[in-house]
Amino acid sequence: MLNLLNFVIWAVLIIHVGMLLVCVWRVWRGENIIDRLIGLDITSTLVLIILILIAIIEGNSIYFDVAIGLTALSAISTIAMAKYIADQRMF
Amino acid sequence: MQSRNSAIQMTLLIAVIYLALTANLEPSNLVAAFLIGIAISLLIRPRQLTIAWQRLPLAFWSLLRYLGILMLDLVKSGIQVGRIILNPRLPIDPGIVMIDTGCQSELGTALSAHALTLTPGELVVEMDDQGLLFVHCLDASNSAQYVAEAQELRQELLSKIFE
């Protein structure tokens, strides 16, 4: 069971890290600005997931604290950028 | 009055989150939780949320149900969209439709929009304060019906939570 779990965790981790590459590609070659922004947003979701996986691997909940900070701030920054894109200004 | 209520609610909410995050129910930590909640409420001076205090148990139950529905919606939503994505034909019929939630308050509209966005195939693009939502649907032709139904249930729960 533990071995399986371990294997799955690593596999999941590698899959998610690999998917980051897709996001980079998206930001590089997105159709338009919104597409790229979506790429960035999904990147932070992936990073969140990876942080959780690291927490699992390390068996340490401190990575959750990192993840909370990430989640709160990525929402803020994505919305702020959406605002900029729509409005050419932030506030 | 209303703002004091809001402040108390925020205090409680903050205290709960604090306790969740610190994972410690010592009496001193409870005190700390409330002190922190009060301090933050004082600093932010909330003025919007007002929970129906008089019917607290009911409100709590409704809240739980509401959250459950949300989760369920999210699950459904994930599965539905996932199916679409996996389908090689990509069976979508997207479009933006207008939905009148009937909510009068800002908060109500917001919560509706929030819930709607979590539901399968719906995404609020624009909204105003009077309950009008403009929703991008993956399946524009028959979503109106579904949305209306779901909306009704949520509306009822929300009205039980909030005054």
Partner: protein, 980 residues
């Protein structure tokens, strides 16, 4: 012999130099002041007479003041016959010149300045000749250069005066630098600076391999000062000085400083071939140049200046000799020249002052108008002409005698006498010009004949005294005391006793014959002057050393221009040069550890762990997305890629594993993204598009340059990384300590946090100050400096809706309530997170910095969602300046508290357990908590300053506007903007 009295003459004059400033500023008439002032040099003269009577050959009077014992330096004075001779001339003629100045400037109430300069100069000059060691000498030497600069430039409103003053300073100052080097060198070889030591180390000096250089340096100083060819040209230019200054500086004193120095050092540096040829050569050439050029002049003072140059050449040539008679000639020349030349200068001043011109062509027949002055001129002029029975005759005789001395080497021996004859003849003709043409002949320019009258008695009496002395010394049969005094002086210069007799008539001799030849040919020159002088104007104009001087200055200016052109204003160019220089230095220092790199390569572990692969992959992602920022054209796209790169770096850090840093990296990445985009909103789109175009249209060489620099820098870092990684594990002398002591000593589980707020809290204390300075700076810059400068932004193409809740969207729609909901929830949540991070930061990731940034970003989110004004109104406590101040103050107080209750500044103290407070477990009310609060507040203040100012730079701000108005009233109004 030691005598403290030696300082008195110097003090007397030094005091006098200060007095005009202190007491006479525009109160008294110049004449009265001058008479009063003259008491001081006169007193000094008297003192010096008394002191010099105590001097006997070989037994100077000295006094030494300890000055810089660490450097073995003292200030000392020294009086032997040689220095007494010069000192007496300085004070004696100085007295006359001071009085003369009073008359010269009698109508000018601001001349107290001139008197002050003159007396300062006199102090320097007296100090120079009385100095007892070469450093003291040098100090006063430079003093004469500086004060003469002020005197020559006294009439500074004229371009001529300024240029001449600068010229003199440039030449003598340059010489001074050489001299200093030479003197220090002498001192280092001799082992001391005082004369006694130096005079005793003649052999060591002459034997030193550096002797030629030392001699060159000293000669450079002395010969430039004494206006020797080819540096003589500053002296005629220095005639721009008021005549009293010329009469003093350029006859008796400053120009003789070089002579004095050479004479002084002759016993220790002289008596070598080099010395002989150098001084004789320069001296003879100068003599001829001065004599020749002087005869061409139309300006009385220029004529006198050149004749001075001629005489100075004679003196230098004398010092070059190693025969007794030359030193007799030297001292006699020095004295005779001082007497007649000061008289002549003062006379020229009278002529100039009374007639308004010094032009020979306009002057003539003044004897009728000013008989007394002309008598003085006649006597002094005859002395200059070298005619008996005047003292000048004796000077010329001894010179000729020297030139005929059998010991001279053949070529010099053949040339010297005839050069002396030629110079003598020209000098005679010159004095004819001065005396006859001015006072007795008719002006050649009849259109503008000069008119004038006799000056006040005091004025002509002053030149009369030296003139009469010239006559008296010649006429008196044998002034025994003077002769022995001069003999002593000559002996001091010669290094062994010299016999001096002042008898004019020594019988028929070869010198006399030459003298007669000189007088005869001088008369012929004078008679044919009207033909010769115009011819000379065209002949040999080539000796234009001024052109050389100008070329040198132009060369300097050219070089200067080249250097300043290097400062071309382009930051990129600067950075490129610096990075390249860094590379060059690295190569020159052979700092790249090539041989180690070789050693390390095979030892690289081959089998990487799973985590390693992930690490390298995330690193690759980070690099890739940074690289993308180069290629993405639009700035916003690049910023998005940058944001991803930052996140990838955060992941790498999380995998390291370093959760604390990962959290901060994430937060900072978000902050950086937000404020970068925010600053995009501040730059007008056309501007950005233009910059983008230019960036992507860079030339190939430019790209190559930047690329090479980038690759080079990259290799540098790669090397650093590679070596650090390959040599792992290394020993850290500190980390084990931190790991072992974090929990027991600071109560922190988070070792990194413990380092930040405990072990290296001093870093953190000032790091937040840096952050505070940045925030405060942005506020000062955008809210004060920019406003004051009236910086005008181009009008906003999309003005804000007047609504307090500005729309998210285009059409004036309000922000959606969904976002309101999120914003409402995020701020308290952010604050809660912040509180938790501060409270439990010692056990988990997050610290005060994270806390502050999280809150400020949530506040920034409110700006976005609710609008700036609403947020400001809703959160009145958000006052960045105070937050910063309070934050740092808490940091400081925290440090002090732990001094009181702990073991020292910023030492760990747990106040909670100290006071037995029932606190939640895991939370310590300790110094680190206080510190985290301090950090959080400071960072919050600063970050909100940053957001406010970048987002709303032109936000109406009554506070700064009011202050700026006050400032505008307080300061003196400016009439316009800076032009260039």
């Amino acid at each position: 012999m030691l005598s403290p009295w030696l300082v008195l003459p110097l003090l007397t004059i030094g005091l006098a130099a200060v007095l005009p400033v202190l007491f006479f500023r525009r109160k008294s008439s110049t004449l009265r002041m001058a008479w009063l002032m003259s008491v001081f040099p006169a007193t000094a003269f008297g003192l010096l007479l008394w002191l010099s009577s105590q001097v006997s050959p070989g037994k100077p009077v000295t006094i030494q003041l300890e000055w810089l014992p660490s450097l073995n330096l003292s200030l000392s004075l020294y009086l032997d016959n040689l220095s007494a001779l010069f000192a007496l001339m300085v004070t004696g003629i100085g007295t006359l010149v001071v009085i003369y100045t009073g008359y010269y400037f009698r109508k000018d109430t601001s001349a107290w300045q001139f008197l002050a300069y003159l007396l300062l100069f006199m102090t320097s000059m007296l100090g120079l000749v009385m100095a007892g060691d070469i450093i003291t000498l040098f100090i006063f030497w430079e003093g004469t250069s500086i004060t003469s600069f002020l005197l020559i430039g006294y009439k500074y409103k004229t371009e001529d005066a300024r240029q001449s003053a600068f010229k003199a300073l440039f030449i003598t100052g340059g010489g001074g630098i050489a001299l200093l080097a030479g003197l220090i060198w002498i001192a280092s070889i001799a082992g001391g600076t005082d004369y006694a030591t130096i005079l005793a180390s003649g052999n060591a000096l002459r034997g030193s391999p550096y002797y030629p250089i030392i001699l060159g340096l000293v000669a450079l100083g002395a010969l430039t000062k004494s206006a020797q060819t080819p540096a003589h040209f500053w002296l005629p230019a220095a005639m721009a000085a008021p005549t009293p200054a010329s009469a003093f500086l350029h006859s008796a004193t400053m120009v003789k400083a070089g002579i004095y120095l050479l004479a002084r050092l002759n016993p220790s540096l002289g008596y070598t071939e080099l010395w002989f040829y150098l001084l004789t050569g320069v001296g003879i050439i100068t003599m001829l140049v001065g004599a020749y050029l002087g005869f061409k002049q139309n300006d009385l003072k220029a004529l006198l200046a050149y004749s001075t140059i001629c005489q100075l050449g004679v003196m230098v040539a004398m010092i070059g000799q190693d025969i007794e008679i030359a030193y007799k000639a030297l001292v006699i020349s020095v004295l005779a020249h001082s007497l007649y030349k000061s008289a002549l200068f003062m006379t020229a001043g009278i002529v100039d002052h009374e007639t308004g011109t010094r032009d020979l062509r306009r002057l003539g027949g003044l004897a009728r108008l000013m008989p007394k002055t002309s008598a003085v001129a006649l006597v002094a002029g005859l002395s200059m002409a070298g005619l008996p029975p005047l003292f000048g005759f004796l000077a010329k005789e001894t010179l000729l005698a020297t030139s005929l001395h059998p010991s001279l080497p053949p070529i010099i021996g053949a040339l010297f006498p005839w050069a002396a004859v030629a110079a003598g003849a020209l000098l005679l003709a010159q004095s004819g010009l001065f005396v006859y043409d001015v006072f007795f002949g008719k002006p050649s320019d009849l259109q503008h004949p000069a008119k004038g009258h006799e000056p006040p008695a005091g004025m002509w009496l002053m030149p009369a005294i030296p003139a009469v002395l010239s006559l008296a010394i010649g006429l008196l049969p044998e002034p025994e005391r003077l002769a022995s005094f001069l003999a002593g002086a000559a002996g001091d210069a010669f290094g062994s006793p010299v016999k001096v007799s002042l008898a004019l008539w020594t019988g028929l001799s070869a010198p006399l014959a030459l003298s007669i030849v000189a007088i005869f040919s001088g008369c012929i020159l004078f008679i044919f002057r009207h033909r010769l002088r115009p011819a000379m104007q065209t002949l040999l104009p080539a000796i234009q050393l001024n052109a050389v001087y100008n070329a040198v200055l132009q060369g300097i200016d050219r070089g200067a221009e080249l250097v300043t052109r290097l400062q071309r204003g382009q930051l990129r160019f600067y950075l490129a040069i610096m990075l390249t220089s860094l590379g060059i230095l690295i190569v020159l220092f052979q700092a790249i550890p090539l041989r180690y790199l070789n050693d390390l390569l095979p030892s690289t572990p081959v089998a990487p762990g799973r985590l390693d692969l992930l690490r390298i992959f995330t690193l690759g992602l980070a690099v890739l997305s940074s690289l993308i920022t180069v290629f993405l054209r639009r700035d916003l796209y690049a910023i998005l890629a940058l944001s991803i790169s930052g996140l990838a770096v955060a992941l790498w850090i999380a995998l390291e594993p370093a959760p604390d840093v990962a959290l901060v990296q994430i937060i900072v990445d978000m902050l950086a993204t937000v404020i970068l985009v925010l600053s995009l909103t501040r730059l007008p789109r056309p501007q950005r598009e233009k910059a983008r175009e230019l960036t992507f249209r860079q030339s190939r060489p430019g790209l190559l340059r930047d690329g090479l620099i980038a690759v080079g820098s990259g290799l540098l870092v790669a090397t650093l990384v590679y070596v650090s990684l390959s040599t792992r594990p290394h020993t850290s002398l500190v980390s084990p300590f931190y790991a072992a002591n974090a929990k027991p000593l600071t109560g922190a589980k988070d070792i990194v946090g413990a380092i930040l707020v405990d072990f290296r809290s001093f870093d953190t204390l000032f790091e937040i100050m840096v952050f505070a300075a940045a925030g405060l700076g942005i506020h000062m810059l955008l809210h004060y400096a920019a406003r004051k400068a009236g910086d005008q932004e181009e009008p906003d193409p999309r003005p804000l809706a007047p609504d307090e809740h500005p729309a998210l969207g285009v059409g004036g729609l309000p922000t959606s309530s969904l976002l309101h909901l999120l914003a409402y929830s995020l701020l308290p949540l952010a604050m809660l997170l912040a509180v938790i991070e501060m409270m439990y930061g010692h056990d988990q990731p997050g610290d005060g910095f994270t806390a502050g940034i999280v809150i400020s970003l949530a506040v920034g989110f409110w700006y976005v969602i609710f609008g700036y004004h609403f947020t400001k109104k809703q959160l009145p406590w958000l006052r960045s300046g105070y937050l910063i101040a309070v934050g740092i103050l808490i940091g400081l107080i925290n440090g002090l508290l732990s001094t009181l209750f702990g073991t020292g500044f910023l030492s760990p103290v747990d106040y909670g357990s100290m006071l037995n407070l029932p606190l939640p477990s895991g939370f310590n009310l300790s110094n680190s908590f206080l510190f985290e609060v301090a950090i959080c507040l400071t960072v919050l203040g600063s970050a909100t300053y940053i957001l406010d100012n970048l987002g709303r730079p032109k936000e109406a701000d009554p506070e700064s506007d009011a202050l700026l108005r006050t400032i505008e009233e307080e300061t003196i109004p400016q009439s316009g903007r800076r032009s260039a």
